[in-house]
Symmetry: C2
Subunit: 210 residues, 2 copies
DNA sequence: GTGTGGAGACTGACCAGTCAGTCTGGGAGG
DNA sequence: CCTCCCAGACTGACTGGTCAGTCTCCACAC
């Protein structure tokens, strides 16, 4: 039908403004933080207008959430794909870590927003942060539980280990955001993965997953 | 612009007001975050007045800094002492981790401020945060370097490992702040220390340091 | 009276969010 | 092909609330 074609030729224009606002917001939030950023900064950076911003988003807060949610969704998909392609338990863990690190590397603005700029005030912000982190923890924990079942590692508190891993990865990325080291960030993938794996008693594969 | 130097009253009675303000500020900042807190919240919680607050502190920011600086200084001293009392390399590492975790456990408000509020607060606070974290990293790194020298562990990127440890400890404490688990927090000390030590290839002592 | 610690009303900058109005593309009717 | 018309995307000056920081006054001590 003509309808579908018409829509797809119509909406891109509309989507375009929304995207411009979102992209600019990512830059602005990343460089000034949520509270340091003023909606007019986003307006200016996006080359649109305040009206346009409030036409697409109900509040400054909502802009932030859209940004984070879009990014986390993408991240989850990327990880899922990478893990599917990987062989063996250790290979899958390596793929998961590598995907996280690589994604942060290619999206430093979003990495900053997710890891450093997340506002503390407001229950909504808190709840979402805890929930999203919890999801990630569950994924890693799943691998560790399987490793325990398969007798690859000793029985242990896999949830704790998952939190340790998340904290470790986050801190290493934060160091990179703050100091620029190592350059490129990808250089940490191999040694970082080795540290994480041996913390629970697993040995890395000879050739890490791509 | 007002260089109203932060006054430190000599009379112990007047020092009392300052302390009340600081203690209340810790509670307020911990529960609402820096930007979510309003100076009048601190005024109300401390049972003093705006005049008193601005008599002792130059700005809201300064209150926050005083809080963080006092706490970090105390923390550093506690760690130093605990490590001095400990025997052997592994024992010292165990003591350092245990001290950190215990201190956060007994000061949840300050833990929240240091681990959750501080990172998210704007650029003004970044420099100091990076520097202080760097110091902590250097301490841990020192232990690891010694372990490498003594051939207790393989040569490796000890700075990376130190960041991994810091991130891991922080994340575990944050989980406790968010979810209340484990109760008491001290229950993580032994398994957490084991994870950290084995990540670099060290075995824990039979009986962990007190 | 003079100094010190404190109270709390007040000010003014700042900024999220609004709204009355403009512009544009495209569809219906000629 | 050419109006005319409308929906709805977009504009930006404006508003109203908020809050850090100031100012004036007071109570009490010496």
């Amino acid at each position: 039908m003509a309808t579908a074609v018409e829509r797809s030729s119509k909406t891109p224009q509309r989507e375009d403004t929304r995207r411009k606002i979102l992209d600019s917001a990512a830059q602005v939030f990343a460089s000034k933080g949520f509270y340091g950023s003023v909606v007019d900064d986003i307006v200016k950076a996006s080359g649109t207008s305040k009206g346009a911003v409030y036409f697409y988003f109900e509040s400054k807060e909502r802009i932030f959430f859209s940004l984070v949610e879009d990014y986390v969704t993408t991240l989850a998909q990327e990880m899922h794909l990478a893990v599917q392609r990987a062989r063996g338990l250790v290979g899958q863990v390596e793929a998961a870590v590598a995907t996280l690190v690589r994604s942060f590397h290619t999206n430093p603005a979003l990495a900053r927003i997710v890891l450093l700029d997340w506002p503390m005030a407001g229950a909504e912000f808190q709840g979402k942060r805890i929930a999203l982190k919890g999801m990630l923890v569950e994924v890693l924990r799943g691998y560790l539980d399987r490793a325990v079942e398969d007798r690859r590692i000793d029985a242990q508190d896999t949830e704790l280990a998952a939190y340790v891993w998340i904290g470790a990865i986050g801190e290493v990325v934060v160091r990179w955001l703050n100091t620029g080291r190592p350059a490129p960030l990808e250089d940490v993938i191999v040694p970082l993965t080795r540290l994480l794996l041996s913390s629970v008693g697993l040995a890395p594969t000879a050739s890490p997953a791509t």
